[in-house]
Amino acid sequence: MTKSLNTTVDIGGLRINNPITVASGTFGFGREYENFIDISKLGGIMAKGLTLKPREGNPTPRIAETSSGMLNSVGLENPGVEYFVKNELPYLKSKGVTVIANISGNTVEEYCEMCNILDNTKTDAIEMNISCPNVKQGGVAFGTDKDIVYNITKEVRKSTNKPLIVKLSPNVTDIREIAKSAQKGGADGLSLINTLLGMAVNIKSRRPILRNNVGGLSGPAIKPVALRMVWQVSQVVDIPIIGMGGISTVEDIIEFLLVGASAISIGTANFINPRVTTDLLKELEKYMIENEIKDINDIVGKIKPY
């Protein structure tokens, strides 16, 4: 970045060089993108979602394309948190990457155990994905009940000294209530939004396209929902927000910052242009110069609503 510009932002006690991070599950553990870009230039990498034990994920088809979007039912295929700590994290840290581990669990205990494991590592922060089904509560997603969100955040908070970012599911009635509960439970920051539950149908076979019947919608199609949610949440919490959902241009980034995100994540757009992150970083700098923005933080939340 040009010297006179400040792009450093704070995402809950973690300072990152620029507000452009990559969304969990869309960037693997970074290696795949090294064929295309210098991954150390990113503000940070939200690593592929981890579970306590390795998971095979769902059967294929796991991908369905929709209008300006896509559905996925990968089902958290991952090698497990221990493998990540041993085989992926050291590599990413040796490259100078800021690493945010994304964790998913079926029980509060699983989340806490993963935090215990990650706490003694060089992981820079933890992003807690609470969109998973809560086994103990009969499969209701953790992230859809404000009391569960408060409790789980409070418990997980005790298991880690790392910055704790709670990633919110958009599949809820009022995201503000959930966000407030996460803040009250001790979250240092919030990520939103995760994918919206959706479906695609093949009318010839009369079957869903996804083998799992339903899946998570991402890409440009969800941007308006994501913007609305970031905007609503930014008015009721005072912890930093990482905004995401359909970002693929520098204008998209500015929109998210204006409605109150301190940083953003790019997800699906990486699949279409694996260089999108570093391209947008350059464009963001250009935008700042052209619009005489010296400090990127100056535009955060500067929307002028009616």
């Binding site: 993108y33 994920g57 294929t60 991908i63 896509m70 996925n72 242009n273």
Partner: protein, 255 residues
Amino acid sequence: MLIENCRVKKNEKIIEDIYKMEIINEQITKLGKAGQFLQIKVNNQDTPLLRRPISINEIKIDEKVIVIYYKVIGKGTKLLSEVKSGEILNVIGPLGTGFETNYEEKSIALIGGGIGVAPLIELGKRLSDRNKVYSYLGFADNTYLEEEFKKFSTSIGVSTVSGRVGYKGLVVDIFKNELIDKKIDLIFACGPNPMLREIAEIAKLNNIECQVSLEERMACGFGACLGCSIKTIHGMKKVCSDGPVFWSSEVIFND
């Protein structure tokens, strides 16, 4: 792996809904191998959002041309069929591992079903220098590309489900009848999953080595999204980056 803006040299219908496109790119022709594929963005819009995976069907090094054959089945391939010569397409490639081709003095069967015959052209060209290549091509109704296969094949078997050309039925049946006579000791296959599963079984029964090129729906094509993971005897593998070519003995086929 490159991201390149490539000029389209030619894009023409060869039969019904099957098209042949020639794309110019020196780097990709140099790096590309039989069985690898490209991820093509068919326009510059948000819809269709994702790239389309299409095999590298033939490489013409001296012309710096990659030939692809594709069947129009939906929105993306329809748009691709409307691209004019001279237009630019954004392409990522070459992707995937490709076929293992380091063989000599083998009797090789190439078995293709539908548009799955296309990726076997470059392969056949490369293998036929030092091996005997027998081609088995299965179609639904109309046939295509037989002339290309004749250039390098010792013999060709053609089937159509409709019976319009060649044997009436499935190509696997022709192959089954000939595999002993022709002393086939290596199989390469590309086509719909049920066909590949059957070929894998035949290969196993007859103790023949067999490479299959698989298809899965892909979001990225370069190993990042895990959209294309399949079960193998060595655990989960990504069709896009660990494949699309696998030893048939490795793959655990879905029902």
